[in-house]
């Protein structure tokens, strides 16, 4: 596998007034392999959506480099780049024009990508509606005539219609109910297998990420604190924040969940405009030392393919699934 996308030291700062700067991204370095689904998890304000938007060219980064297919990403993105990179948003209702039928929406998208003749656009529209399980009959439907799950299928159909190489999906199932969420997760897995697409899958829901992504990056306050294959991340998490996240997810098992209630992680994410010095997780961290209060740890290799940014990375505090 070769890296389709290589990000080096990416930063995105927002000036909020004279002396306040929000470091939404504070030096992100990672690669996304061709054909891979990389999960990006973190709580609100961690910078995960900002990262996704920088990758598709919706936001211009403040510093660092993005290499797409070996070449620097054009800024602003040109037509060729836009055809190869697509975005799926959280709210499918907001992402579809309510005054357009799904067929018109798809055709407009393909025309903007200079896909080809009217006939080939119609053929491709029918094709992607079939691939996403909607069927060609949905071309005449309006968004308000569809359920939330059907709308998200339409948004995904639009994203894959122009044969992109890379799709950023930002919380694509978070607005959906449990019963439809599972359908969309399965659809994304099927498309992944059938088309060999490369995805960046952004979600706050660790269970969903486990089912969609082979490799997962955990973000906290603008930085990647842990990056590992999913088996390692979920079964052998090394960063105390990853461990806290995994302990906090509600488990649908009364005995397990009752025990977890007494084990809630302390503290709240700090103000991103005035992050604590050193490691930004140290005020909430049970293992924080003087070193953590002064020096931010770099992302280093803990095991093959397993990276962690912690001075005291260890399994202590990890959830033991076998006990459940």
């Amino acid at each position: 596998m070769t890296a389709l996308l290589a990000v080096e030291g990416l930063t995105k700062h927002y000036r909020l007034g004279r002396s306040t700067t929000l470091r939404a991204l504070d030096g992100i370095t990672l690669e996304v392999q061709r054909g891979e689904t990389l999960g990006l998890v973190g709580e609100s304000g961690s910078g995960k959506s900002t990262f996704g938007r920088c990758l598709v060219g919706l936001h211009a980064p403040t510093g660092g480099r993005i290499l797409f297919d070996g070449r620097p990403m054009p800024n602003p993105p040109d037509a060729a780049f836009r055809r190869r990179v697509q975005l799926v948003f959280q709210d499918p209702y907001g992402a579809l024009n309510p005054a357009m039928t799904i067929g018109t929406t798809l055709a407009e998208h393909l025309r903007a990508q200079r896909y080809g003749s009217g006939e080939s656009i119609r053929a491709r529209s029918r094709e992607v509606l079939d691939m996403t399980g909607l069927g060609a009959a949905y071309a005449t439907r309006y968004p308000h005539e569809m359920s939330g799950g059907e709308r998200q299928r339409a948004v995904i159909a639009r994203a894959i219609s122009s044969h992109p190489d890379f799709i950023v999906a930002d919380e694509p199932v978070s607005a959906l109910d449990v019963s439809t969420r599972a359908q969309i997760i399965n659809l994304m897995r099927a498309l992944q297998r059938a088309l060999g697409l490369t995805w960046l899958f952004i979600s706050h829901d660790l269970g969903v990420v486990a089912h969609v992504c082979r490799r997962v990056a955990v973000m906290y306050l603008g930085r990647v604190v842990e990056l590992a294959p999913r088996e390692a991340l979920f079964h052998r998490p090394l960063h105390p924040y990853t461990q806290a996240l995994l302990r906090a997810v509600p488990i649908p098992d009364p005995a397990v969940q009752r025990a977890r209630l007494s084990d809630a992680p302390p503290g709240e994410p700090p103000d991103a405009t005035a992050p604590p010095g050193g490691c930004s997780f140290h005020p909430r961290c049970p293992r924080a030392s003087d070193l953590c209060r002064t020096t931010a740890p770099a992302l280093t290799t803990a095991a093959s393919g397993h990276f962690v940014a912690c001075h005291h990375a260890s399994l202590e505090g990890a959830t033991l699934w076998s006990a459940h």
Binding site: G149, V178, Q257, P269
Partner: protein, 324 residues
């Protein structure tokens, strides 16, 4: 019996949001109302508080708290029933310091003087785990995090030591680590004060750890109710079973597709028989023509389904439930 609700119906123009819901609640009992968006679970809470908009038409045979009909709500709302809403940021007044918002209720409900109310508020802020409580009394909602605002909402809801707390998706807008803290806090307060709770949530994991009993709702009806342990161990309604099976797991099963519930809740509209029949793998003709009512299957376990999921015929298909 603390709360007795029989045959609650709520009609909005062109839509029956709640259709014949009955349940009762003992003092100190924790009931989870679980269901997907639009199933009517929030409407029940608003009906109990008499906070429904004026276009809603309310019908019931019994609605009593401690044997007293819930009709004149002065002295009941806030005093005997407190409520916490999903979005703490928009539920608080943006231009009044949070301490005053809590104290106002105390002065109004209990007739406390300004200084007594302030002192009581400070105690409440400490009880709900607001750090630097004295300073936070003068803060405006926008100066506090979502988790802090939800603690303020909780302080407000429990200020007059109500017998019943209605918590409507109290942690849905919060990050997962903060959610765990707020759930633990609600759990602790209930244990200490003996307050009963109706916890409304779409998240079976949240309900698993917080409740004694769960009522699962679908399209305006309770389709199954059971003690929490029994509901997870032996779910009897095909919808409950489908919901539990479609949850992504954190620890295993990542290679397999998730089980799904086909279709969407839209198929319930206008159904003569069981509202779930169009999505149900076990539906027979009876299900489509006649609506099943909640009937007991075991101690405290009731289900509204014609089929008996526990029994099956020679081919392994569930068989029709025998009339009791």
């Amino acid at each position: 019996m603390l709360l007795d609700l029989q045959n609650l119906c709520v009609d909005f123009p062109g839509l029956r949001a709640v259709d014949g819901v009955s349940f009762s609640l003992a003092a100190g009992e924790k009931l989870g109302l679980v269901g997907e968006s639009g199933c009517g679970k929030s409407t029940i809470a608003l009906a109990l508080m008499r906070l429904l908009p004026s276009v809603a038409r309310l019908g019931y045979t019994t609605m009593t708290l401690d044997g007293v009909p819930l009709a004149d709500m002065r002295g009941v709302r806030g005093r005997q029933m407190g409520m916490v809403f999903q979005d703490p940021m928009t539920s608080l007044h943006p231009m009044i310091p949070v301490g005053r918002q809590v104290a106002e209720g105390l002065r109004h409900q209990l007739g406390l003087s300004r200084s007594d109310a302030a002192a009581r508020t400070l105690g409440l802020f400490r009880a709900v785990g607001i750090a630097a409580a004295e300073r936070r009394m003068g803060a405006y909602p926008h100066e506090l995090s979502g988790g802090m605002c939800q603690r303020v909402m909780l302080a407000m809801a429990i200020a007059c030591q109500p017998k019943l707390l209605l918590a409507d998706e109290p942690t849905t807008a919060l990050d997962v680590t903060v959610q765990a803290q707020i759930l633990a806090l609600i759990d602790r307060i209930c244990r200490e004060t003996g307050m009963a709770v109706i916890l409304i949530t779409h998240d079976l994991g949240v309900a698993a750890g917080m409740t004694d009993r769960i009522a699962v709702m679908y399209a305006g009806e309770i389709v199954e109710t059971a003690p929490t342990g029994l509901l997870f161990a032996a779910p009897a309604h095909p919808y409950t079973r489908g919901l539990l099976r479609s949850l992504p797991r954190l620890d295993a099963g990542w290679e397999d597709d998730l089980e799904t519930i086909p279709g969407s809740v839209r198929s319930a509209a206008g159904a003569v028989g069981c509202r779930f029949a169009a999505r149900c793998p076990h539906a027979i003709d009876l299900c489509r023509s006649e609506r099943p009512r909640l009937a007991p299957v075991a101690g405290g376990h009731m289900v509204a389904c014609w089929m008996d999921a526990a029994a099956s015929d020679a081919a392994g298909r569930p068989v029709e439930r025998l009339a009791a």
